[in-house]
Amino acid sequence: MLLFVLLVATGHAQSSAFDRPPAPVTNVALKDAPDDAGGAITISWTLSPDDAGGAMDVIGYDVRRSTSPDGPFQTVKSVPRGSSEAADETDLDSNVNYFYRVVVKDAKGEAPSVVAGPVQAKVPWFNLGRLNTLIATIIYITLLLYFIFHAKKGKKLFIRRLAGLDALDEAVGRATEMGKPILYVPGISQISDVATIASINILSGVARTVAEYNTRVIVPNYDPIVMTVAQEVVREGFLAAGKPDAYDEHDVFYVTTNQFAFVAAVDGIMVRERPATNLFIGMFFAESLILAETGASTGAIQIAGTDAVAQIPFFIAACDYTLIGEELYAASAYLSRAPLLLGSLKGQDWMKICLIGCIAVGVVTLLFGIESFRDFFETPLMIFRQ
């Protein structure tokens, strides 16, 4: 009998859970999302007691917003059951008071929470989440300017040998002896790409050397804007060598902005013109090996330089000399030996030393369970947040 009563009572309780609206959420908390451009508020709450999964019937929550505590409230976000947080990023104005309520829903009804608020989506003047980046940037700029200043005062700065760049003179000389042209491919990217700019810097030096040796340089271009810059740079190079009449603008030309069509065209130039030296300097993608291997089949000496990490192995396998990654950016300083450029190269190296040092110390300290070094980097953020 007692068992029967218990069973009936339990069944009644269960059916009641499905008949009445779910219990509302509690402890609705509102917070302006930090370090954004305004326009986001985080709403959190304690789950409805009926949101236990299984036999309970909560299906989700609606987050509703109004600019007045009396409403009207509009739904700005819906989240599934089990969620205790949501972010409102819908058309929020800064410095306007907003009020929220969280409405729990089931198949038959809904129950709103008490109204929470007011809260404002504020626009901080500084993104504290990027404070460490700013500090690192300031340190880097300081190092660069310090070494540039020292270089300008006449201090000699050492740069290690870059075989690929040292070989440029030899490569141009070889082309002159053989009476063959030099092929220079400035990559297949746009002028906005830093690798292309670095390539144009090297082209400037190459053009001057080529003009001095009375050799022809062929420069096929992937991008029409890069072509106009390349034409200007090569013309300046011939002018600087005192041979403006030797410059032929038809040797610096636009091919196509289609990757493999460009490769096919350049391969055709290599097979027909048989340049003695091929220079592949700039941003390259999958076509790098096709270019390099076709060049190798013609017997040309090849110098490559790219910051595309995935293509470096192909150039190393197929070319005689390869400039890896940032060696490409060092090229203009290396070739010109201008104090300003050498100084910036030194600053770059010192920043790398700082980063390597931080990584090494961090790894060793964490290995031994010492977290103070890592926590040190969060100190500026903590100071400003307080």
Partner: protein
């Protein structure tokens, strides 16, 4: 003077503003606007590419430059695809079909033209095979490059050679049958390979930042066609 100074000033101001918006949230709208403008400029750059292509090849035809006959092919293909694109996009053939009697000579001509000028069909049956063929040259060239260049001349070259052989084995079913190869391959790719790439990427990042700063400050001016 103006030709030199104005571009440098624009570069400096734009650089400082974009750097600042990264740290100052109220200026984020500048980044959004810059993206919009970049989108417009890249669309215009497509036109510049088209105009440059036509200009280069018509100049070659006028000058009767070496291999100028191929320029006829290029210009013909360009016009053909433009016409095919417009005809397909605006459903011209659907309208022509409606105006023809079924089974008539006109219907036959329209059907033939529709097949010949179907943009999607040309793309699937011409463009894709051509580009895929060019990409497939890599398979042949990697074999010849590996045969020619992977010699154990130095310690580093030997290391490269052994790692390459293990990874080549570990990435195919035949090699994965050898016990331990797959695990070593995964380790090589996950650990030393990723570490080296990260190192190069850090260097490249710093180099990019340095080059960008030099451009902003006007130290690097070769991209404007000026001497340093």
């Amino acid at each position: 003077m103006m030709r030199r100074q104005v571009p440098l000033l624009i570069c400096f101001v734009a650089g400082i503003v974009m750097l600042s918006q990264n740290f100052i949230p109220p200026l984020t709208w500048i980044y959004q606007q810059a993206l919009e403008w970049a989108r417009i400029i890249s669309a215009i750059a497509l036109f510049i590419g088209l105009i440059s292509l036509v200009r280069v090849h018509t100049m070659k035809l006028k000058r009767k430059a070496p291999n100028y006959r191929y320029s006829y092919v290029t210009l013909f293909a360009l016009c053909y695809m433009i016409i095919a694109g417009f005809l397909t996009k605006y459903g011209v053939f659907v309208k022509l079909h409606a105006g023809c009697d079924p089974g008539s000579a006109g219907e036959w001509i329209v059907t033939a033209l529709e097949k010949a000028l179907n943009f999607q069909e040309i793309f699937l049956n011409v463009q894709i095979p051509i580009q895929a063929t060019m990409f497939s040259l890599l398979a042949f060239y990697i074999a010849s490059a590996a045969f020619r260049a992977f010699k154990a001349r130095t310690f580093e070259a030997t290391l490269l050679l052994i790692a390459a052989m293990i990874v080549m084995l570990g990435r195919v079913p035949l090699g994965q049958m050898i016990p331990g190869v797959k695990e070593i391959t995964v380790w090589i790719l996950d650990v030393p390979n990723t570490a080296a790439k990260r190192g190069i990427m850090i260097g490249v990042g710093l180099g990019m930042a340095s080059t960008s700063l030099k451009i902003m400050l006007g130290i690097e001016r070769t991209y404007l066609g000026m001497k340093d």
